[in-house]
Amino acid sequence: MSLGTYFDQLEHDVLAAMRKPSKLYWAALAVSAAAFALGLGCWGWQIYEGLGMAGIRSPVGWGVYITDFVFWVGIAHSGTLISAVLFLFRAKFRCSFNRSAEAMTVIAVMTAGLFPLIHLGRCWFFYWLMPYPNQRHLWVNFRSPLIWDVFAVSTYFTISAVFFFVGLIPDLAIARRRFTGWRHWVFRILSLGWQGTAEQWKHYAWLYMFLAAFATPLVISVHSVVSWDFAMSVIPGWHTTIFAPYFVAGAIFSGTAMVITLVVPMRRILGLDTYITVDHFEAIAKILLFTSLIVSYSYIVEFVLAWYSGNPFEIAHFSFRAVGDYRYLYWLMLFCNGLLPLTLFVKRLRRNLKYLFVLSLFVNVGMWLERFVIIVTSLARDFDPYNWGNYAPRFGEIGITIGSFGMFFMLFLIFTKMLPVLAIAEVKEHSS
């Protein structure tokens, strides 16, 4: 096949994915939308009833909502990181995953951003988190990591959205050429007059490189800030220096798993087997294995140093994690995040897409549990035994959590039909 024919076929195949949806697509969209509606309903119920309908109360003031926030923000951070870091390292297989990963990032940040609002209870006062001049001379507490979060996450959302959009421009121009009717007009506006001249490509390459180089340390710093929501306190299990790199590695780990969860069925349903190959999945499976090892290293170091320190509070806390009331969740977390990914040392399993898909689901579960275990166990067993107490999420919290997954998958499904799911220009570049 000549290069011209291949390019034509590539454009056709990728843009064909944006045409009339199948019944399976509609069914998936309906399920996701229903879950999202459930979440919205539960949130409405919480607004009506008040935050008391949730299970969070003293001493566990952070429960499923903060777990969901950290989980989604982790997924969000890894998307740009996977895309930007692989770009900087000139990893060619990135073009199979970067578009999905970047879309996943933008959607996950939007999902994550809802949880602080949900957790506020009176979410209509969210603007109190912003520093704005007011008659009462009230000012946000800049020494609070929660305020750092507001700035970090909003900056991150801006950069991710720009990075996602800039990467799309050449492909939007291809879509503009290929589509007719209203879509042609939409893509004409979005492609910003892209003609693909040498001058445009030169500026584009500079901008994309700059954004990738800028996004990489930004992502690391933003997720470090998320980890400091916990590490800045003095509570056993939270106050530890390893949290920042551990959270960053955990974010890449969970995000890589989520990319696999999304791309394996997407490849099958949209018929993109020719472009997203098993070799590419093997490469991303290696990233999953590598990040799993970093996360496992952190688990071991935290545990061993608690014992080494001889600090009774640290020892009691880590014993509580392992044999206390949340032990089943803890061991399940270790199984999903530490043990199961070790099977990826076997090449045959790294290349088995069904296995990878199932494994990625386990990792998603494991990483959600990790955040739950970190948050809840530390609050449930503070220094003072008088202040101990357990937490279990209530129906409303579970409904909102399900709703967040519904929202995420619904928006991702909409993305697959609205925008090119593969970076066409980049695939062309590598092919030639």
């Binding site: 390292f89 340390p217 690391i220 710093s221 470090s224 400091w228 590490a231 800045m232 306190s233 003095v234 106050h239 530890t240 220096t241 390893i242 949290f243 920042a244 790199p245 290696k286 290293y297 952190s298 170091v301 935290e302 140093l305 014992w307 080494y308 320190s309 001889g310 600090n311 040392f345």
Partner: protein, 336 residues
């Protein structure tokens, strides 16, 4: 080449033994500082080669064979630690040992891990020469042992000087620094070779300097993550460690130098694109990183244990001669 390196390593161990004997315990932690530095460079370079191998990085290929060939020197480090073990009295915990900080166990586990790292590198190099499929397995084993060994160097050799003070990031911080040093040394080797064969080694040089730039940022992130958590938590038993090394002179000034040498200056020097291929900036950046590493280890160690400056200088040179001799010698093996 391998025989020559082995001979040099053996000579270094014997000379270090002579120095330690001559100082009769007054050398303090001098040998530890020297071993930390040269082990970080040697293990870091082999780890860089291993990571490049596993990730299929082609840019590293021109230097791969040469950097891997340094592995016989790794066998010197367990022997050097055994030499140091006669000096364990510098550790305050010796008077009240715990299950982990117990002298015999302390020496055995550290020697065993240093040996495992050397053996893993040896097996990897052997399998690689034969083109055996097991090379990947040994390469992975080497990386595992490198991470565990460097972590234990951090927790056992340095952190335990102030036991029960703990810092969970210390282990990861040490092995990332070892990689940082390995990259800095790689850049210097690439620079030297690029003069003879620019077409082959210039791309390696550019990528190695880019990695120095990236690791400067990573290092800064790691140090900030430790400092901020401890400073913000403000727990007396935790802050005391940092206070002694930041607010008390001359350690405060040394700590500022470390920050400049490991992050600010390499970042500033290499931020310009043209600097990534010019000898002056590259030598300055790599040299600063190496100097910063040594001073940082002194900042960690000196407030808790003595380091004899003459013994340190002698042992530094004794261990440095075989490493530098190997790295900067004219290549007599075809690059793989």
């Amino acid at each position: 080449m391998s025989k020559r390196v082995t001979t040099l390593a053996a000579a270094a161990v014997i000379l270090a033994l002579v120095v330690e004997w001559a100082f009769r315990g007054a050398s303090g932690m001098a040998l530890v500082v020297a071993v930390l530095f040269w082990a970080a460079i040697c293990q870091g370079m082999v780890a860089l080669a291993a990571a490049a191998d596993l990730s299929g990085a082609r840019w590293f290929l021109p230097l791969r064979g040469h950097l891997m060939g340094i592995y016989p020197l790794l066998f010197a480090f367990p022997a050097l630690f055994l030499v140091f073990s006669a000096n364990l009295s510098v550790y305050p915990w010796l008077g009240h040992p715990t299950r982990w900080l117990e002298p015999n166990f302390f020496v055995i586990r550290n020697v065993a891990l240093l040996l495992l790292t050397a053996v893993a590198a040896h097996l990897w190099a052997g399998a690689d020469r034969r083109g055996a499929r097991s090379a990947k397995v040994y390469c992975t084993l080497y990386l595992f042992s490198f991470v565990v060994t460097q972590s234990l160097m951090a927790f056992d050799w340095v952190m335990s000087l102030e036991a029960p003070w703990i810092n969970t990031l210390f282990g990861a911080y040490f092995f990332i620094e070892a990689l940082y040093l390995g990259i800095a040394a790689t850049a210097l080797v690439a620079l030297l070779r690029a003069r003879r064969d620019p077409a082959r080694y210039r791309p390696v040089l550019v990528d190695a300097t880019k990695l120095i730039f990236g690791f400067a940022l990573l290092w800064a992130g790691q140090i900030f993550a430790q400092y901020l958590t401890i400073w913000y938590g403000n727990i007396p038993e935790e802050v005391g460690y940092v206070y002694k090394r930041v607010a008390v002179q001359p350690y405060g000034a040394m700590a500022v130098f470390v920050l400049l040498a490991m992050f600010v200056l390499p970042f500033g020097i290499l931020v310009a694109r043209a600097a990534k291929t010019r000898p002056g900036p590259i030598i300055a950046a790599a040299g600063l990183v190496m100097a910063g590493y040594v001073v940082e280890k002194l900042v960690f160690i000196l407030p808790a244990a003595p380091v004899h400056p003459v013994a340190l200088a002698l042992e530094f040179v004794i261990l440095g001669v075989p490493v530098a001799g190997y790295l900067f010698a004219r290549p007599d093996v075809p690059p793989s």
